[in-house]
């Protein structure tokens, strides 16, 4: 046999952002990396303590990568044990008493669920969901016995406590199980044997024709609740402890099992509650097993939503705390200003435009040619350029050009007015024009012009700096960590010496890493999700439309990134595609319904492409009010099946004449935008 090589980079560093997937982080590392999301506005209405001790079940809802798994795992027993180690006496019992809750984490693996469903699908439908219930109960019991072992082991009189618990337990379950337990190991053996039988059935018995016949088919809580009661009633101080079943990736469960869990949520027990992690409402049912009762937020459960559109300041504070914590745990990268010291804060758009233009005026020429009178008269155009140009500030001179082409006055007069406003603004002379200029320069067109200038010189807008990364991450912790990780890896590869010396990363390297991450993430997700090709086409087409808006030489709709469509007009398949795209955060629906676009006085859902994909299209990561691109149902359908990007910019603001009335009222038909 070939000897296997264990390739280690001799000259490597430990990237502090390498651990980005909560699924594979060990409990001790998870605790070390934990930055509580409960103290920010990330999860409104819940403190960390309330999240753990609230008796009403809680559905933790958030987009992919927002930290649901991290939060649920943080509440799990394995991480509680790590917290206990960090206390003065290291006592698990004291920690349980103090925290008043113990959680057990269950992740709904697609592969396990698919095969479990498949294996037991040969059984009658009324019973096969019961097998899952039996399996979940056994798993829950197995976790509970681990807690009992640990707590008894710590106690002053283990044997006595064990007997107390067993006496209590046997009194409750002897009639159900028809036998009693003599010691804790008996419970372990009982649970292990039953689980082993399920494994054996799935792996071996299925090859024969034998039916599934476990020793006993348990209902949820038939054994687990007596175990909990025995523990809580036998060990002083545990009486008000809550035991949490933490179910992650709820949407992976089939509808039957979702209904079963919902029923358990609706009728949860005194000492047992649920925390359910799910991505969005669209892909999970709220029905229970009896098909007449549904879960209601506030009645049967509380919804804890990880905020989608958190304020930028909150996002920055939270991400900075995450990054700086990781950096502080790293021995390789220690910058006194943390992540901002390494990446820089904001993009220098003036400098970026300067390095693109390099003193050239082609961009002014192209923009001014948008005005027909200047397009025909090269001499006047040249004269205008001479007036408005500002070699040291391409953004300012481009604003001047926009003022000229938008003015109905003589171009030379308009150019002089623009020049004068620019000079007043830079000289800090306060007047109406300089105030307008200030708004255009500092806010309205700054980013849009940088994208426009880059595109006119066949360059891509660069993305770099902490501020841009926070924008691109858009509240998604995993995206933020992944981008930081990619940047530091690239810095180590492309500019190792300067990186190790200065602990800063050049904007070129940041931009390259961000762009590569963006396109790779897009391709990776599209390749593994349901309707991946439909979603890939849709996003590429929508992105191309946004690019068209960003390259508009008249900059009429600066930084347009949002779009609207009427979901009701889509057929089922297309709605399913949209649901999956949303659940995987490929497109994001804004939290609140809003006016669908400037000039349209109707409310609807507004969407945007995941900000992490903005670098693919070279578009803005910011949200600007005003115009949102409207897509008809036909356009949405077409965009899902092929790369055929509709021309939207040229039609923006034009009245769409209704064609044959199809009996369905449209949200958009006959509407005109006033922004044309």
């Amino acid at each position: 046999m070939l000897s296997n090589l264990n390739l280690k980079q001799l000259d490597s560093f430990n990237n502090p952002f390498d651990e980005y997937n909560a699924n594979s982080i060990e409990p001790d590392r998870l605790l070390a990396l934990w930055c509580t999301p409960f103290e920010s506005e990330l999860i409104t209405g819940f403190s960390e303590s309330r999240f753990r001790t609230e008796k009403m079940p809680i559905v933790l809802q958030g987009l992919r990568g927002t930290g649901k798994t991290m939060i649920l795992k943080y509440c799990s027993y394995s991480v509680l044990k790590e917290r206990a180690k960090n206390t003065r006496n290291g006592s698990i019992l004291s920690t349980v008493k103090r925290e008043k809750s113990v959680g057990f984490y269950f992740r709904c693996d697609d592969s396990f669920i698919n095969t479990f469903t498949n294996v037991f699908s040969t059984q009658p439908k009324v019973t096969w969901a019961g097998f899952f219930e039996h399996y979940l109960e056994l798993q829950f019991c197995r976790h509970l016995t681990e807690v009992i072992h640990d707590i008894i082991f710590e106690s002053d009189n283990p044997k006595n406590n064990e007997l107390l618990i067993l006496e209590n337990l046997n009194a409750q379950i002897s009639s159900i199980l028809c036998h009693t337990f003599c010691c804790l190991k008996d419970i372990d053996d009982f649970v292990d044997n039953e689980i082993r039988y399920i494994d054996h059935f799935k792996n071996d018995v299925i090859f024969s024709d034998e039916p599934f016949s476990p020793g006993i088919l348990l209902k949820l809580f038939t054994v687990s609740e007596p175990i909990i009661n025995s523990l809580c009633e036998s060990i002083p101080g545990l009486n008000d402890t809550l035991f949490l079943i933490l179910i992650d990736e709820f949407e992976n469960l089939g509808e039957d099992i979702q209904k079963f869990i919902n029923t358990a949520i609706k009728f949860s027990r005194r000492r047992i509650s649920f925390r359910v992690g799910r991505r969005s409402e669209g892909i999970a049912t709220t029905a229970t097993v009896n098909d007449r009762e549904y879960l209601r937020n506030g009645h049967d459960y509380f919804l804890a939503e990880i905020q989608k559109q958190l304020s930028l300041k909150m996002q920055k504070d939270f991400f900075r705390s995450i990054a700086d914590k990781r950096l502080s745990l790293s021995s390789d990268i220690m910058h006194e200003n943390g992540i901002i010291g390494i990446l820089g804060d904001k993009e220098d758009l003036d400098n970026e435009c300067l390095s693109v233009c390099k003193g050239r005026t082609e961009h002014l020429n192209l923009i001014l040619s948008e005005k027909s009178s200047l397009k025909k008269n090269e001499e006047t155009k040249k004269e205008v350029i001479d007036i408005i140009q500002n070699h040291e500030n391409p953004i300012a001179e481009t604003i001047n050009a926009l003022w000229v082409i938008r003015s109905k006055d003589d171009p030379i007069d308009a150019a002089k007015r623009a020049r004068s406003a620019m000079e007043d603004f830079f000289a800090k002379r306060d007047n109406e024009r300089s105030r307008k200029y200030k708004n255009d320069y500092e806010n309205k067109y700054r980013f849009a012009i940088t994208v426009l200038i880059s595109s006119l010189y066949k360059r891509k807008k660069m993305y770099y700096g902490f501020n841009a990364i926070v924008h691109l991450s858009d509240g998604n912790t995993r995206t933020f960590i992944n981008i930081c990780r990619a940047i530091l890896n690239d810095a180590f590869f492309y500019e190792r010496d300067s990186f190790q010396t200065n602990l800063t990363v050049s904007r070129e390297t940041q931009n390259r890493a961000i762009y590569n991450y963006s396109s790779q993430e897009f391709n990776d997700v599209c390749s593994i999700i349901k309707y991946g090709n439909n979603i890939r086409n849709l996003i590429l087409n929508i992105g191309n439309v946004m690019t068209e808006y960003h390259r508009d030489k008249r900059a009429r709709y600066p930084e347009t990134t949002q779009f609207v469509f009427n979901r009701l007009e889509l057929d089922k398949h297309e709605r399913d595609v949209i649901d999956v795209a949303e659940s995987w955060s490929m497109i994001i629906r804004r939290s609140r319904t809003q006016r669908v676009s400037a000039g349209i006085d109707r409310k609807g859902d507004i969407y945007y492409i995941n900000r992490a994909f903005c670098p693919i299209f070279g578009i803005s990561y910011r949200v600007r009010g005003g115009v949102n691109v409207q897509f008809s149902a036909e356009e949405m359908q077409l965009m899902m099946v092929s790369l055929s990007t509709p021309k939207k910019l040229s039609h923006q603001g034009k009245i769409k004449r209704p064609t044959d009335f199809d009996g369905q009222l449209s949200l958009f038909d006959g509407e005109a935008s006033d922004n044309g």
């Binding site: 296997n4 697609d110 592969s111």
Partner: protein, 305 residues
């Protein structure tokens, strides 16, 4: 040395297949699908044929010229893995007493695993002849690095039927045997909770470039792990030995055999011998019918259970 066993692996042209055999294979549009049947099995007396029929595949008429129609057992593949098992159970029990040869060239990995386990556990066979035709090349629709696509549409993750491993409270180590398509590996990585990730490439691979194609296409995952492991692409027994050496049998393990069929065969044999091993695989409803070109040679592996 008590637990050592020599393995038998030959190029099929060097050996003679004789006796009354049950021949199991999956006809397909690939050249190599019928290679063994047409060229090597001619000399043998075929008792029965089991043809695994994937959607869109036509069973060639010429197989009926070798045996009477009542000795041809066709198993149609559906979306449900359990349907395949139900079909296997309809095979006559007498097959268990015959020499069984399985040409795994065009049998997809999920069916291959279930089939072999079924033959061993239900049919009670003690040995099995496995045939595998190495493709001369794979079909790269564009440039020969990233344009290989074996499937169309969406992927669903499954534990392979009969290979669910044992339930454990610890997270398993995840072994991914790398293939040409990162989407498969990413799907596994995304779905399977794990403690440590171990990536295994082919060395030697069928062609020198193939191991590089695997590395290039799995770049995102390769970046996650500084450990690189290798097994020969054509040798299931070395795959078995590799797993036997690497895996601590007291800890849970999950394996995704996304690489060549012989490597998957090695994983299958190891998992049959070690019931704590969980094997997972991403499955699509639609596959490309032609992913290989011609045949380089055909291996014969003698499996003794």
């Amino acid at each position: 040395m008590d637990n050592c066993q020599l393995y038998q692996m030959d190029v099929l042209s060097d050996i003679e297949v004789c006796g009354d055999i049950v021949f199991v294979f999956a006809p397909s549009n690939e050249d190599r699908a019928m290679k063994t049947f047409d060229e090597y099995i001619q000399k043998a007396s075929i008792h029965s044929i089991v043809a695994i029929k994937y959607p869109g595949v036509v069973i060639p008429d010429r197989i009926l010229q070798r045996v009477s129609p009542d000795r041809v057992h066709i198993i149609s593949i559906t979306d449900s893995p359990v349907d395949f098992l139900i079909s296997l159970k309809k095979m006559p029990e007498e097959y268990g007493s015959k020499r069984i040869f399985v040409d795994i060239s065009c049998i997809r990995i999920p069916e291959m695993f279930t089939l072999i386990k079924y033959l061993k556990t239900k049919m009670g066979i003690s040995s099995l002849g496995i045939l595998y035709s190495v493709p001369y090349d794979y079909v790269f629709s564009q440039e020969p690095f990233t344009s290989y696509h074996s499937y169309l549409g969406d992927l669903d993750m499954y534990e392979l039927l009969g290979f669910g491993g044992t339930t454990n409270t610890q997270d398993p180590d995840l072994y991914i045997f790398l293939g040409f398509e990162e989407s498969l590996a990413l799907k596994v990585f995304e779905d399977c909770k794990h403690k440590e990730l171990k990536l295994v490439n082919n060395l030697p691979s069928f062609s020198i470039k193939y191991k590089d194609i695997c590395a290039i296409n799995n770049y995102q995952l390769v970046k996650q792990s500084s450990d690189a492991f290798f097994t020969p692409a054509d040798n299931p027994f070395e795959t078995y030995n590799f797993l036997d050496q690497m895996i601590d049998k007291t800890s849970p393990v999950c394996i995704a055999p996304l690489s060549t069929k012989p490597i998957a065969l090695g994983v299958c044999l190891f998992a049959i011998d070690n019931d704590f091993v969980r094997v997972v695989y991403p499955v699509s409803k639609q596959y490309n019918q032609n992913t290989t070109m011609n045949t380089y040679n055909t291996f014969f592996y003698q499996i003794i259970f």
